[in-house]
């Protein structure tokens, strides 16, 4: 019953197998191999357009490289106050971006609202050269709250951003979970809606360590070659990053794995509701937040359930937490089993 994170799972069998299959023989290093070319074409086909693709091993690298590419050192990145780039990357965007500034904004359900973004752009524009000016909007899809932007939401946010000269980045560490849930294509959820660069995550979805920085406008991608190299993120045996991605995307494996993770989250949420516990935010991806009484928390852990507790000051307005309640975060993955959920449900019943 490990719900600590989707990165406590291992490698999906299809992807592990792909590493072995890519192994025989020699291949040019540093991304000059055939497998890498293949994956680039594959990602282009998936997004229905020409793209520039840069594979890296971690989501932090993908985000920080993308943000540094879009934002000058004296620019600001508008993002949700609880976004991963803001709270969990130890200042990687600031480091890669030569001291750029992340500007954390509030937003219900972990999502940014158009009026919030518009107001922030108004505030962080002009007053040059004294103030950092907004240069980039970063959206997290699916969000840290486990919620999802619809294609229309993204289009509206991107329209506002572009109208003021900002570029749009999407942190898609859980992009698969969002696409799997929505009745929309990868293209509709990204460039067709105005996203300029996507951090396309495979690691949480079942890879060992593979993320793609996808440029929907290849003409601005050139210097990313140097950025990636000098950040130490250009693999010499690059074929093994490519192999992970190829297997992730082949035969819709990524969507199948994400659908499973989402379904497990749905089921877990259902079990919580059956036990009288409402999820804090809508369960749209593979994350469920719930307020758990202290005693139940103890029982769950004693019974073998693993999960993290977050600061309860993030709770939605109006929701009251008892002093002893804990804001628990449950994350499911491709590796979560129905049996785990069932055992978890039993622990819930026993309280």
């Amino acid at each position: 019953m490990n719900f600590a994170s989707d990165n406590t799972a291992g490698i999906a069998p299809e992807i592990l197998r792909a590493l072995a299959e890519a192994n025989p023989g020699f291949a040019l290093g540093y991304g000059n191999d055939d497998l890498t070319r293949r994956v680039e074409r594959q990602i282009g086909e998936l997004f229905e357009r020409e793209v520039a693709v840069f594979l890296v091993p971690t989501g932090t690298a993908a985000n920080a490289l993308a943000l540094a590419h879009l934002t000058p050192p004296w620019g600001g990145v508008l993002c949700h106050a609880q976004s991963h780039i803001m709270t969990d990357e130890c200042g990687a965007p600031e480091f890669f971006g030569g001291g750029l500034k992340l500007i954390g904004l509030p937003g219900d359900n972990g999502l940014l609202a158009p009026e919030t973004v518009a107001a922030a752009i108004a505030r962080y524009s002009g007053h040059r050269p004294h103030q950092v000016n907004a240069a980039t909007l970063s959206l997290t899809q699916a969000s840290e709250a486990g919620t999802i932007y619809r294609a229309g939401d993204i289009a509206e946010l991107a329209r506002i951003a572009h109208a003021h000269g900002l570029k749009v980045h999407m942190d898609g560490a859980r992009f698969a979970n969002a696409v799997a849930r929505l009745n929309a294509s990868p293209a509709e959820l990204t460039w067709k809606a105005g996203v300029d660069i996507l951090s396309f995550g495979a690691t949480k979805g079942g890879a060992m360590a593979a993320e793609a920085v996808v440029f929907f406008d290849p003409s601005i991608a050139d210097a990313m070659h140097e950025r990636r190299k000098r950040a130490g993120h250009l693999f010499s045996k690059h074929r093994f990053l490519a192999a992970q991605f190829e297997a992730f995307l082949a035969r819709d494996t990524w969507l199948r794995l994400a659908r499973h993770a989402n379904a497990m989250a749905d089921r877990l949420a259902e079990r919580l509701r059956s036990a009288g516990i409402q999820p804090v935010w809508p369960v749209e991806a593979n994350i469920v937040f719930a307020l758990i009484p202290e005693r139940l928390d103890g029982k769950l852990r004693a019974g073998g359930a693993a999960y993290y507790v977050r600061e309860s000051d993030r709770l939605p307005g109006g929701m009251q937490a008892d002093a002893t309640d804990r804001l628990a975060r449950f994350v499911t993955s491709f590796a979560t089993t129905e049996d785990e959920i069932a055992r978890f449900a039993e622990l819930l019943q026993k309280r």
Copy 2:
């Protein structure tokens, strides 16, 4: 006949197997897993002392993190003018180090001589705060020329460095090849000789993507946690970095693989000599440099041999290259076969 680099090879079977073996079940992310603990102990035992270990996927990351840790932004790193950090990392040390300065020094056979280092320290000391002052000495073992520092060489260089307040870094992307060749222990070639931090490479030696930054004084290692994270080099599924290293080191696999690579280089050098071509530098690790007449170069490539050509201005003093000669670099690896060498020898004969 791929001698382009030791990173055109794939993953050694033992290490690929280890990835699969580490896969089942859940594991805490970000290096908080048992396998990572095990590898840390394993590396400590190998070096016969307490160490602090940080695993990262690339040699550039290992070097740049280590150098940034040892050198203030206004400090200089003394290194060989042909070292990888100087010529092939696209300014990664400067980026990670907030604008530190690499100071490239000449040195016969790809190695730095004590008097060269002493003179450079004298030159880059004092004149504060106008001049960058030497803060770190970085040695490459085995060197880019395929040569090796003996334990006594390292001790002498480190003694000079330490006497002037410099720290000593070793770029050990091919450390295995050096240890395999010399009759010395890993400890003797590092901390016992005065090395403060080692970039211990496994990738070129047979791993997929795994390097260890090894601190021989763990008391100075603390902030490296943040450095690695904010550089995007902390793997979430960290067990797979650890698994590679565990298998690399287990049962002396690393030395066995390196000995094979070295032996293949020896044999290749022998075949060259038999064909009347003397290696440019002593063949001590898994690299052979040779001046190849243009016509032979064409024949070798036509016959299927892959290798790189380097600028011939690096040639040793006194050695004359014909205008049409090419400075060819042949690199062997764990995956090089005797058959490849034999076929290469045949091509040599045919000229």
Copy 3:
């Protein structure tokens, strides 16, 4: 009637004279001159202890150098959300600090409260290495709202900061105005209350361009020599920075000038009150904020008054601004005359 800023004034006559007096003859460059030594002693005597002093031409330089010195690139600086370092330095602290993070906190009257700081430290501690951890507390004295921390306030804030390993920086661009107002010595308002480094401003107080970074613990100051130089802030003809400071401090000129500026602010506030307009925040230094109806704003400007308008979302809780009200900021200086205030009062009456 120029109340736009205290930097729209020129140079105080005493300080301008000092530039001329320092001019004859040759002097060693880069701070190695006698006048610089004299100013260092003078500042030490003023603060009643041994200090290390680094003169620079701008407040942004002083703040950014000090914060970068106290905060690692992966550290956070706690500061008021409206502080100058947060809103008006175009990311200088982030640039000098290699991508450090400013964490803006709310605070009534432009001041930080102990409980706010304590809570922020609790939030930005631990969760290593994923989150930026609080490393420095920066207090602005006098504040951007024109208010002042008492010695006891500073001591309480510094106690909390130090108890958790943070260092304390004071942005004293208007330190003179604070000291002039309070019945306390420079020592009591800084190191005796726990301040580690002070940006001691002279520019706004009457200098041409001179600020001192004052270390109350000289033992941690060494590398500041390099920081200043490589930021381009080490003057070759350094004697002219020193001359400004010497004249600023000699015969309590700084306090006399600041008392005048403060008195002019008091008078201006009084005139506003007489006209039925209450200052928004307590008038303690040389800044007066007031809500001015749009029509009056027009009349004042038409009559020749110069001042800036700020976003009214900074207003204290409970205070309501009409949609047409403007949050005007009036800043007085050593150069403000009673006549200007009188003319301003006349404009107020005419509405």
Copy 4:
């Protein structure tokens, strides 16, 4: 007899007077004042074209800002191995430039030769993304050796640079000395010869602290506003930077002062020759290098002459220094008097 540097002199009377004249009244801060507008026009007229001008207080700031503007963090700056940016700015270009790389090149008489630059561009091009690629050529006019590039030299160097996509920066800390010596206009020695950005120095020429970064293509200058601000180099009382420059340029003061300095250097060189000591490099600006026997060195210093000694490994090929000879550098300035030279000559005679 102070020949230590041209920055040991004070402020030229015309410029000191200008500070006083600019003082009365209020002026908008941060360069929004009329005097600044005037200086910008003045510099445009001087260079016979539209320019963008950014005033800063030090040459290090001017150079580092300009180089960072022209060079990406993964780019290289080609410069003379003995240039100020390479040896005396404590890594400022690397800091401002996010870790860019200075590539020091040899060159007779302190000057770079076209073939050297062409070879360096060839070496530092391609091999992307592994190697730092040459992005900028920086020329020092007058050079650290006291020599001068002719307009034709600059044009040839710039042609080579531009042909390969590099931009051309000129470090003109002693630009006045060069222009004063040559029969060429400021325009002919800069943009007409291909210079893209000039660091135009006034400090060494007689100002207190004032340098102008001059963009000959204003269309690429926009972000320099932010660069300067976030480096702490935007003066609030900016009119006093402008006042220095206005007086420096007015009525050809800058050329008159430079001609005097150059003439004093000529005379000093003549006196050395009369004493049997040949200047090491051609004396073209206000710097004279000479090999001084140890005993004479002692006598000169005992007699009150101040100057610096440099490492004699910089000597031209073929010139032999006795072990006890010292490479003395004598720098004259607007403040050097004929009397000083005469007294120096007397000391020379007494040996």
